[in-house]
């Protein structure tokens, strides 16, 4: 498998390459996040029989810019009995890892800041750091709602990390590499077809990790006001907001890379394919958000440990057996087999397990 490398006449060597890509990634993430905020608000509005932002600029496209200006000008409030240093540090700790995820995301062949040979492991490790920032925010705010939200976040990330990683291993087995660009190169058939169960588990787990509905318990506004960022205002709040959407963007990019064959596709230029797929995944996330109610904390835990984890283990075993025993000459035959396995397993398992515990005697 030949990897399209950097052009040989790329000027300046390592540091220029590094500098250029850092700027590109930062600009890309900011622009995409702003675009996605607008996109989510418009798409949700249309699904909810209303108009959405439509005043600032054409189709309300400048609404995120107006919001950014507003948020920059707002007063920054620190709770009187809060931990000032941690309160200040928390948004940074939450936001920076989100940007760092994009260091290993291949935007197209060779367009990647660092083609780490352990790319996907790096993504898993770095994306968990955001949780520390969120817990710092919850703790430093000296607010009970914040603390409740932060506790929920930690509990859910600790639980969901396991099925998410296990479902990634299926992909790694098929691709034979941990490097994200190698994984894309291995997808002559998109892995969503070869790993339908893995995709299903990864997508649910990822939604839970990034606090998107129906798993948005950490900032459940009808229960705990705004969760960990209840006491944040101004630019610090904006950083949390950016981190949230940045994570959604990162997860969309990772799903695209792992399961939807990344930048590869006919006719269109590769970077456009990448953007289209990322947008599609993000749309599905928005769609789910407008549709379903929120689960309860014990149901969230039950889903991770009783449903996702056993299925992820089964998926791993089945994939390993297939990689070992299946003749490589017949890749397409395995697709219907895997889809059938997924349907049977999910249906059977959803009958077997029970969500949550209900009332507690006190």
């Amino acid at each position: 498998m030949a990897m399209p490398a950097l052009p040989p006449d790329w000027p300046g060597g390592f540091w220029v390459h590094w500098g250029v890509f850092v700027v590109i990634i930062f600009a890309f993430v900011m622009a995409m996040v702003m675009g996605f905020i607008w996109f989510e608000r418009r798409a949700m509005a249309i699904m909810q029989a209303r108009l959405g932002p439509n005043r600032a600029g054409p189709f309300g496209l400048l609404q995120p810019v107006a919001d950014a200006i507003k948020v920059l000008l707002k007063e920054d409030i620190i709770p009187a009995k809060g931990d000032k240093l941690v309160h200040w540090l928390a948004p940074v700790v939450a936001f920076v890892p989100v940007l760092m995820i994009f260091a290993v995301v291949p935007f197209q062949g060779g367009a990647i800041l660092a083609d780490l040979n352990i790319g996907i492991l790096y993504v898993v490790a770095i994306s968990s750091v955001t949780t520390v920032g969120i817990f710092m925010a919850g703790w430093a705010s000296n607010n009970k709602y914040s603390l409740l939200g932060a506790m929920r976040q930690v509990a859910s990330v600790v639980s969901y990390e396991i099925p998410v990683v296990l479902s990634i291993i299926g992909v790694v087995l098929l691709a034979g590499s941990l490097s994200l660009s190698q994984i894309v190169m291995a997808q002559d058939i998109p892995f969503i077809l070869l790993q339908p169960l893995g995709f299903f588990l990864f997508f649910i787990g990822a939604c839970a990790e990034i606090n998107r509905a129906p798993f948005d318990l950490m900032e459940a506004d009808s229960e705990i006001v705004a969760g960990f960022h209840t006491e944040y205002s101004g630019m610090k709040f904006a950083l949390f907001y950016l981190a949230e959407y940045g994570e959604a963007l990162a997860i969309s990019a990772i799903v695209t890379t792992l399961f939807l064959s990344g930048w590869r596709g006919p006719v269109l230029p590769p970077w456009l394919w990448f953007l289209v797929k990322v947008g599609l995944v993000f749309f599905v996330i928005v769609w789910i958000r407008t549709t379903v109610p929120r689960v309860r904390i014990d149901q969230l835990m039950a889903l991770a440990w009783k449903f996702l984890l056993p299925l992820a283990l089964l998926n791993l075993i089945i994939t390993a057996a297939e990689v070992l025993a299946w003749p490589t000459a017949l890749p397409w035959v395995i697709v219907p087999v895997n889809i059938a396995i997924m349907v049977v397993l999910v249906l059977l398992w959803s009958r077997l397990f029970k969500l949550g515990w209900g009332r507690v005697e006190v």
Binding site: L148, D221, E223, P293, R296
Partner: protein, 367 residues
């Protein structure tokens, strides 16, 4: 090793996204589990009962608008019934029908808010409530036609209604009644069988039948617990004995039953509306009543099945132009007394939806 933990107190409200007004739940939490709850209310107390004792009998009607501001028409109706009972004023046939039409439209509008807010509390982010507000707008348009107002209508009068409906009202109402069943089907499509909603609402916040009767709950909260009790059937007021309709009841008394009962009541209200339009007679919309009413010494209690439960007005007259005593039996307040028994042992998230499923209006609780 057992880790020593302490319960902690959280104030949910008075300014909180899902307290539906300025209600405050002082909950003691053990982790996420609620071990104790103390309701605190009175933030919206305006002294309406005392104010009413300083006003003439006809001047009280605008005050009743401000009780349950999501169901002003029902409040007007209950108060007017009480005064008519006290004085013995006849109501023209057409006015009776118009009153029933308004009361049933109001029931639909109030239930739309109740169900929408309940689903919003469940975390279905704004989608159901926005669909329901769309139809509530249509009802508000109808009310605006007859009264000029969209929230506090002040439409009913002692001895009828303030004025006859404009001629474009009945066609608009016919159109509404024709399409409303399809809209209710649409609400059912949104979340009725949703797995997460079933997991969240089924079996949660059960109000047993005996407890519901003992605390004198009424309205959808009582009927969801399986008690077939509706003032419209049990003690028919106005002309409700002329209409055919069923009383939907639940079986378990959980949040899901309360949600379903409200949806089915909307269907029954549409049924009543259809019959009322068919039989609406011509004639006067208001009997001749002096502006200053001096009822004989005595007392009267007028009650109706308001959207939230049994709404009653108790009036005592000392033969002056103002009521000597004016008391409101507010269904929201009485249903709210069941809250503590319902939420103890559940989690924070459940407390919010149980509270939402009772459907209270703080204007009525605090008065």
């Amino acid at each position: 090793m057992v880790i020593k933990t302490e319960p902690f107190v959280v104030n949910i409200g008075p300014a909180h996204p899902s307290t539906h007004g300025v209600f405050r739940m002082r909950v003691t939490l053990d982790g996420e589990v609620i071990v104790d709850m103390e309701p605190v209310f009175g933030y919206l107390h305006r002294g309406i009962e005392k104010l009413a004792e300083e006003r003439t009998y006809t001047g009280v009607i605008p005050l009743t608008d401000r009780l349950d501001y999501l169901a002003s028409m029902s409040n007007n109706l209950a108060y007017c019934l009480a005064v008519e009972k006290l004085v013995g004023i006849p109501v023209p046939e057409r006015a009776e029908y118009l009153r029933v039409i308004m009361a049933e439209l109001q029931r639909i509008a109030s239930h739309l808010i109740a169900v929408g807010a309940f689903l919003n509390d469940c975390g279905a982010f704004m989608t159901p409530i926005l669909y329901m507000l769309r139809e509530r707008e249509k009802i508000l348009d109808l009310f605006e036609m007859v009264s000029g107002q969209r929230l506090t209508y002040n439409y009913m009068r002692v001895g009828g209604v303030s004025q006859d409906v404009p001629e474009e009202f009945i066609p608009a109402l016919r159109k509404f009644v024709k399409v409303m069943p399809d809209w209710i089907d649409e609400y059912d499509q949104l979340l009725k069988e949703n797995e997460i909603l079933l997991a969240r609402a089924k079996g949660v916040g059960i109000l047993p039948k005996e407890l519901a009767i003992n605390i004198s709950a009424s309205g959808p909260v009582l009927r969801a617990s399986g008690v077939n009790w509706d003032i419209r059937k049990a003690d028919p007021y106005s002309i409700y004995d002329r209409f055919e309709f069923d009383i939907p009841t639940g079986s378990v008394g959980d949040c899901y039953d309360r949600y379903r009962v409200r949806i089915q009541e909307m269907r029954q209200s549409v049924r009543i509306l259809k019959q009322a339009i068919e039989h609406l007679p011509q004639g006067e919309a208001r009997s001749d009543v002096p502006h200053l009413i001096r009822p004989p010494v005595g007392e009267a209690y007028g009650h109706i099945e308001a959207p939230k439960g049994e709404l009653g007005f108790y009036l005592v007259s000392d033969n002056s132009i103002a009521p000597y005593r004016f008391h409101v039996r507010a269904p929201s307040l009485i249903n709210l007394t069941a809250l503590r028994d319902m939420i103890i042992g559940w989690k924070v998230a459940d407390a919010i939806i149980i509270f939402g499923s009772i459907d209270i209006c703080m204007g009525e609780v605090d008065r």
